[in-house]
Amino acid sequence: MTSEIAASATDLYKTYGSNEAMVKALDGVSVDIRAGEFTAIMGTSGSGKSTLMHCMAGLDSSDSGSVKIGDVELSTLSDKKLTQLRRDRVGFVFQAFNLVPTLNAEENILLPLSIAGRKPDKDWYRKVIDAVDLSTRLKHRPSELSGGQQQRVACARALVSRPDIVFADEPTGNLDSASGAEVLSFLRRSVDDFGQTIVMVTHDPVAASYTDRVIFLADGKIIDELLEPTAEKVLEKMARRNRRVKNPV
C-alpha cells in the first residue's frame, strides 16, 4: 500500500446556527485519505460524519481549514470549477434517490460523462458493468429495478468516470442485508481489483468491516481510528466509547 494521499482535510471547522443553538459540526478535523484505500467514517448521528464527507467532496464548504482532492485546494474554486471537479474527479453514491428517474440504467451510469460531453472508455465500461452484474438490466428505468440493483447502478456510475475518489453516503442504509452485502462486496472489489479510493460514511459496523480503515467521529472531532477492522472490533470500539459516555471517570 502506497502512502500517496488522494484527499485531505486540515483543521476543518464548521458550525451551524448561532449563539445558544450553535452546533459545532466540525471542530478542528484533520484527516488524510490514502489512495487505493477503502476508508469508513463512523459516528452517531450528529457526530459530524456527513458534514465531513460533504466538505471533502466539495458539496459543502467549511468555515475554516483546507480541503484538497489530489493537490487541488477546494476552498479557492468557483462554483463552476467545483462542479467540474465533482463531475470529473469525484464519484458519488448516496443512500437514496441516486438515479434520475427519466433515464435508464445505462444513461444513469454514463451521467457524469454525458454531462461532460465525453465518451466512456469501452473496456473500462464493460468491466464495471460486469462487476456490478447489470448487463441484462441496462435498458431498464430505475422504477423497474430493485433497491439493490439501483444502488449497484449508482456504484457503477461512481466508478465509470475513473474518479480520483468515490464518496459513498450510507450506501446500504436502505437495503436488506443480502443486497447490502452485494453492494459492499462490489465496493471492496473495486478497491482491490481497480485500486479505487473510496470513502464511505456509515453507522453499520458490518459495513465498516469491509473497509481498510475506520475513522470514528464524535462531536465534530476525530476520536479514534481502527485499521483492518472486523465487525467485532468496530463494535467493541463503539461499546467502549458508549461506556465512557455512560460511566464518566
Binding site: 458539496l59 462542479t83 465533482r86 470529473d88 441516486n98 434520475v100 433515464l103
Partner: protein
C-alpha cells in the same frame, strides 16, 4: 375540515396566487369590458338626454334603421313661419329654429384637420333653448356668442386641440365654395352635461348658419321648444303636433333621447360583445392553468389526502376540501380581477382620450351587475376547472398514506382520444356543411367547427404531443447534447401536464393564426379586387368618410389633362329588413370608368330605376322589372329594378341615378369622384394637377390604384392589430401557465436536480435544461396551435369567398415568426423557474429528510 382547507390555502399561497392570477386577468377583462361600455353608455346617455329640448319638431322620419339612416343627410326643411306658429301654442315658453350642418372641419394652427378619427364635427346655429330637464345645454367658457357673419364659436377641447384662443382668426374647411373659410373666434363653449365624447362643436349665428347650410333661405332643420312647467312634455308634444303642417312631426325630449340612445346602445352592445368574446377566450385559457395547478397540488398532497382518508374523512369531504380551496381562489381572484378591470377601463378611457374621444366628463361606472357577473364567472370557472383534480383527489386510497410513492391514479387516455375523434369529426362535419351546403349562417358553423377542432386538438394532445416532443428532443440532443436529452425526457415525463400547459398556448395561437390568414387573405383579395376593379386612374375622396364639395367635380373636369370626372355619393336604405349600402351617380358615365358587368338588364340610367349586385338581388329575391320600396330616413321611394351587376368592392350593393336623391329628399353630398386622365396626359402631371386643386382643401385626398389599395389594407391591418392585442392577454395567461408548470416541476424534482448538481451538472447547464423544457412546451403549443389555426383560417376564407374574400393567402413568414416568438416566450417563461432551480442548495436537495 374547513379550517384544514384554509390552512392549506395559506401554506401554498405562491402557487395558488399564480392560478388566481389567471382568474384576475380573465375576470379583469370581463369587468373591464362592462365598466368601459357602461361608462361609454353613461356618457352617451348624458348626450342623448341632456342635449334635447322638451319638444322637438323635425321632418317625419320613415326608416327606423339607425345604420342606413345615419348615411342620409336630410334635405327637407322647415319654414320660419312654422316656428312662429309653434310659438303661439299654449304652454310653449320658447321656440327656436335650429340649423345643422355636416362636412365641416376645424383646421388647426399647423394647417391640419382637427380630429380626423372617430367623432364627427357638428355645426349648429347658436341656440340658448334649455333642455328637457330645464338646464342649459351649452355653457360659455369664455368669450361671447357669434352674432354676425365672420364670427364663430367652437368647443373647448377643439380650441385646445387646434391651438386657438378667443379673438384668433380660425380656419374652417367646408363643403361650400370657397372650401376654406377664415372666421373670428368669439367664444368657447362646452356641453353642460359633460363630455362631447370627442365630437367637435362649431357654432354660428342663425343667419350665417342659414347662409352656409340652407342656401341663405330662412329655413330650419329642427325646432327646439321650451316647455312651460305647468304643461307636461306629453301634452305639449300633442299640442305642437296639431299646429304642424304635413310632413313634420313633434317628438318629446324623452322619445328623441331614447332614439339617440338606441343607436348608441346598438354600437355599445356590439363593442361589449366583441370585448367579452376575448374575455371568454382568456378565461378558457386561464382554466387550463387552474386545472394544471390543482392537479399538481393534489398530486403533491396525495399522501396527505390519503392520511385524511385513513383517519376517516369521506371521499366527499376530500373532494369538498379541494373544491372549497378552488372557490376561495376563484373568489379572491375575482375580487382582484374587479380591481384590475376597473384599472383596465380607466386605461382604455384615457387611451381613447388621446385618440380624441374624450370621456373625461364621465366618471367610470361601476354597476352592481358588473360585480355579480365578475364574481360568478370567476368562481364558476375556477370550480369547473378544479372539478377534475378534486375528483381525482377523492380517489386516493387510504392505504396510500402508508406508502412512500405518491403515484395518483391517472385515468387512461382512451376517453380523451375517443372524444377527440368525435370532436374532430364534428368539426370537419360543420366545416363541410358550411362549405358545401347552402344552409344559412355559414360563419357561425365555421366558428363552431373551429371550437370543435380546438377541443379535438386539446383532447388528443396527450397523444400528439409525444411525436412532436420527440422530434424537438432530437433537435435538442443534436444541438445541446446531454442537457438536451434531459430536457426532452423531462417534457415527456408527464405528457398530460405538458399537453395541458401547451394547450393554453395552442388556443391563443390557433386564433392568432386564423386571424392572420384571414387578414392576409383579405389584403390579397383587396389587391386582387383593386387590380380587377380599380379601372379609374384616380379617385378623389375624403378620408374621414365625410362628404366632399360637389363643386370639386366641375373644377376637376376643367383640367386640361382630365378626360372624365364622375362623382358618386354613398347612400343607405332598407328594403323590408334588409339594409343596403349603395350609391347614386351618373350610371352611364360611371360604367365608362368602372367595368360594371351587368349580368341581367342594363344600367339604371332612367329616373326611378336602380341596379343591385348579385348578392343583394339574391337576398332580396328581386329580378329585372320588379318594383321595390326603398325606405330612407326621409321617406319611402318606389323604384324599378333595371339591372343586376356582378359583385364588386368598388361598386357597393346598389347603383342608382342622382335623381333618386331628389325623390327621397336627401341632400347632395358627394363622397367620391372617379377621375380618368386623357390618354396623352402624363400620369404624374395629372396627379400633380389634381393635387393642386385639392391642396387648399385638407379634407380631400387624391388616390391612385396603389394608394387606394394601401388605404384599404391599412384598415384591415388596424383591425388585425387590435385583435392581436386582445388575443395577447390570452397568450400572457398561457405564458403564466408555462411559468407555473415549470416552477412546480422544479419543486417536485428538487432531489433529482440536487443529484444532477452533485454529480457535476453546472448551474448554467441546469438553467439551460429548464429553459429547453420550457421551449419544448411553448413550441409544442405553438405547433399544434398554428396547425389548427391554418386549417381554420383556410376553411374560414373558403366560406367567405362569396363575401369578397376571394383570395387565399397563408402568411408563411408571419407564421414562422409566431413560432419563433413562441420559442422566445418559452425562454422568457423559464427565467424565474430556471433561476430557482439553479440556486438550489445541493445538500438540502439530496439530504434524506
Amino acid at each position: 375540515m374547513l379550517s384544514f382547507t384554509l390552512r392549506n390555502l395559506l401554506a401554498r399561497k405562491v402557487r395558488l396566487l399564480l392560478s388566481a392570477f389567471a382568474i384576475v386577468l380573465g375576470v379583469g377583462f370581463v369587468a373591464g369590458s362592462f365598466v368601459f361600455t357602461d361608462t361609454m353608455a353613461s356618457s352617451f346617455d348624458k348626450i342623448a338626454y341632456g342635449t334635447v329640448a322638451s319638444v322637438n319638431v323635425r321632418p317625419v322620419q320613415e326608416s327606423s334603421d339607425a345604420m342606413t339612416s345615419s348615411m342620409t343627410m336630410d334635405a327637407r326643411r322647415i319654414d320660419a313661419s312654422v316656428v312662429d306658429d309653434v310659438r303661439q301654442v299654449d304652454g310653449v315658453r320658447k321656440a327656436a329654429g335650429g340649423v345643422q350642418g355636416l362636412g365641416l372641419f376645424v383646421i388647426t394652427k399647423e394647417n391640419r384637420l382637427l380630429s380626423t378619427t372617430g367623432a364627427p364635427t357638428l355645426a349648429f346655429n347658436v341656440d340658448d333653448t334649455r333642455n328637457a330637464a330645464d338646464e342649459e345645454i351649452i355653457r360659455w367658457v369664455s368669450g361671447r356668442a357669434p352674432e354676425r357673419e365672420g364670427e364663430v364659436a367652437i368647443d373647448a377641447r377643439a380650441a385646445k386641440g387646434a391651438g386657438y384662443r378667443v379673438g384668433d382668426t380660425i380656419k374652417l374647411a367646408t363643403l361650400g365654395d370657397p372650401p376654406i373659410v377664415e372666421t373670428k373666434l368669439t367664444g368657447i363653449v362646452e356641453f353642460s352635461s359633460g363630455s362631447l365624447a370627442g365630437a367637435t362643436l362649431v357654432l354660428f349665428d342663425t343667419k350665417t348658419a342659414q347662409a352656409m347650410f340652407m342656401d341663405g333661405a330662412d329655413e330650419f332643420n329642427t325646432i327646439s321648444i321650451e316647455r312651460d312647467p305647468s304643461v307636461s312634455e306629453e301634452v305639449l308634444t300633442k299640442r305642437v303636433q296639431e299646429v304642424l303642417p304635413e310632413g313634420l312631426e313633434a317628438v318629446s325630449g324623452t322619445d328623441l333621447g331614447n332614439e339617440t340612445k338606441s343607436v348608441f346602445d346598438e354600437v355599445l352592445g356590439f363593442l361589449n360583445t366583441f370585448l367579452l368574446v376575448f374575455a371568454g377566450i382568456s378565461l378558457v385559457v386561464g382554466s387550463f392553468l387552474i386545472v394544471n395547478t390543482f392537479s399538481m397540488l393534489v398530486a403533491q398532497r396525495s399522501s396527505e389526502l390519503a392520511l385524511l382518508r385513513a383517519m376517516g374523512a369521506s371521499r366527499r369531504q376530500v373532494q369538498a376540501a379541494v373544491l372549497i380551496e378552488a372557490a376561495v381562489v376563484g373568489f379572491v381572484g375575482s375580487i382582484l380581477g374587479l380591481g384590475f378591470g376597473f384599472g383596465l377601463a380607466a386605461l382604455l378611457k384615457s387611451a381613447l382620450g388621446y385618440l380624441g374621444i374624450d370621456l373625461s366628463g364621465t366618471a367610470l361606472v361601476f354597476l352592481p351587475r358588473t360585480v355579480i357577473v365578475a364574481v360568478v364567472v370567476g368562481v364558476v370557472v375556477t370550480l369547473l376547472a378544479a372539478y377534475i383534480p378534486a375528483r381525482r383527489a377523492s380517489k386516493v386510497p387510504p392505504v396510500a398514506a402508508m406508502r412512500d410513492d405518491q403515484a395518483l391514479s391517472e385515468g387512461t387516455v382512451h376517453w380523451r382520444v375517443i372524444s377527440g375523434v368525435v370532436f374532430a369529426l364534428l368539426g370537419f362535419g360543420l366545416f363541410g356543411l358550411a362549405l358545401w351546403t347552402d344552409l344559412p349562417k355559414p360563419g357561425w358553423m365555421v366558428g363552431a367547427g373551429i371550437i370543435s377542432l380546438l377541443l379535438a386538438v386539446i383532447a388528443t394532445s396527450v397523444v400528439t404531443a409525444i411525436p412532436v416532443l420527440a422530434g424537438l428532443g432530437r433537435g435538442f440532443r443534436g444541438i445541446f447534447g446531454f442537457v438536451g436529452l434531459l430536457a426532452e425526457q423531462n417534457s415527456l415525463r408527464n405528457p398530460r401536464r405538458t399537453a395541458a400547459t401547451a394547450s393554453a398556448l395552442t388556443i391563443g395561437l390557433a386564433l392568432v393564426t386564423t386571424m392572420s390568414i384571414m387578414g392576409a387573405s383579405l389584403n390579397a383579395s383587396i389587391d386582387e379586387g383593386v387590380d380587377k376593379q380599380f379601372t379609374t386612374d384616380f379617385i378623389v375622396t375624403n378620408p374621414t368618410r365625410m362628404p366632399i364639395s360637389s363643386k370639386l367635380t366641375d373644377q376637376i373636369v376643367e383640367l386640361p389633362s382630365v378626360a372624365k370626372a364622375v362623382p358618386n355619393q354613398s347612400i343607405g336604405f332598407t328594403i323590408g329588413d334588409e339594409p343596403i349600402y349603395g350609391s347614386v351617380t351618373d350610371p352611364q358615365a360611371w360604367s365608362e370608368i368602372f367595368k360594371v358587368n351587368y349580368v341581367k338588364g342594363e344600367a339604371p340610367v332612367r329616373a326611378g330605376t336602380i341596379a343591385f349586385n348579385e348578392t343583394k338581388a339574391k337576398a332580396l329575391s328581386v329580378s329585372v322589372g320588379d318594383t321595390v320600396e326603398l325606405a330612407f330616413l326621409t321617406g319611402t321611394v318606389p323604384v324599378q329594378v333595371a339591372g343586376i351587376f356582378e359583385d364588386s368592392e368598388a361598386l357597393g350593393q346598389s347603383l342608382a341615378p342622382y335623381s333618386l336623391l331628389e325623390d327621397a329628399g336627401i341632400k347632395r353630398a358627394d363622397t367620391v369622384i372617379a377621375v380618368n386622365k386623357k390618354p396623352n396626359a402624363g400620369f404624374k402631371t395629372t396627379r400633380a394637377a389634381l393635387e393642386r386643386i385639392t391642396k387648399d382643401n385638407p379634407t380631400v385626398v387624391v388616390q391612385d390604384k396603389e394608394s387606394f389599395a394601401e388605404a384599404q389594407r391599412a384598415q384591415v391591418n388596424t383591425m388585425l392589430y387590435l385583435i392581436y392585442a386582445l388575443l395577447g392577454l390570452a397568450i400572457v395567461i398561457a405564458i403564466l401557465g408555462i411559468v407555473n408548470t415549470l416552477a412546480l416541476s422544479v419543486i417536485e424534482r428538487t432531489r433529482e436536480l440536487g443529484l444532477l448538481r452533485a454529480v457535476g451538472l453546472e448551474r448554467g447547464q441546469l438553467r439551460r435544461m429548464v429553459r429547453l423544457e420550457s421551449v419544448a412546451l411553448a413550441v409544442l403549443g405553438a405547433i399544434l396551435g398554428i396547425a389548427t389555426g391554418t386549417v381554420s383560417g383556410v376553411v374560414l376564407q373558403r366560406t367567405f369567398v362569396d363575401d369578397g374574400i376571394t383570395a387565399l393567402s397563408i402568411p408563411v413568414t408571419q407564421l414562422v415568426i409566431f413560432l419563433a416568438i413562441s420559442a422566445l416566450v418559452g425562454v422568457m417563461a423559464a427565467v424565474l423557474p430556471a433561476h430557482r432551480a439553479a440556486k438550489l442548495n445541493i445538500l438540502d436537495a439530496i439530504s434524506v429528510e
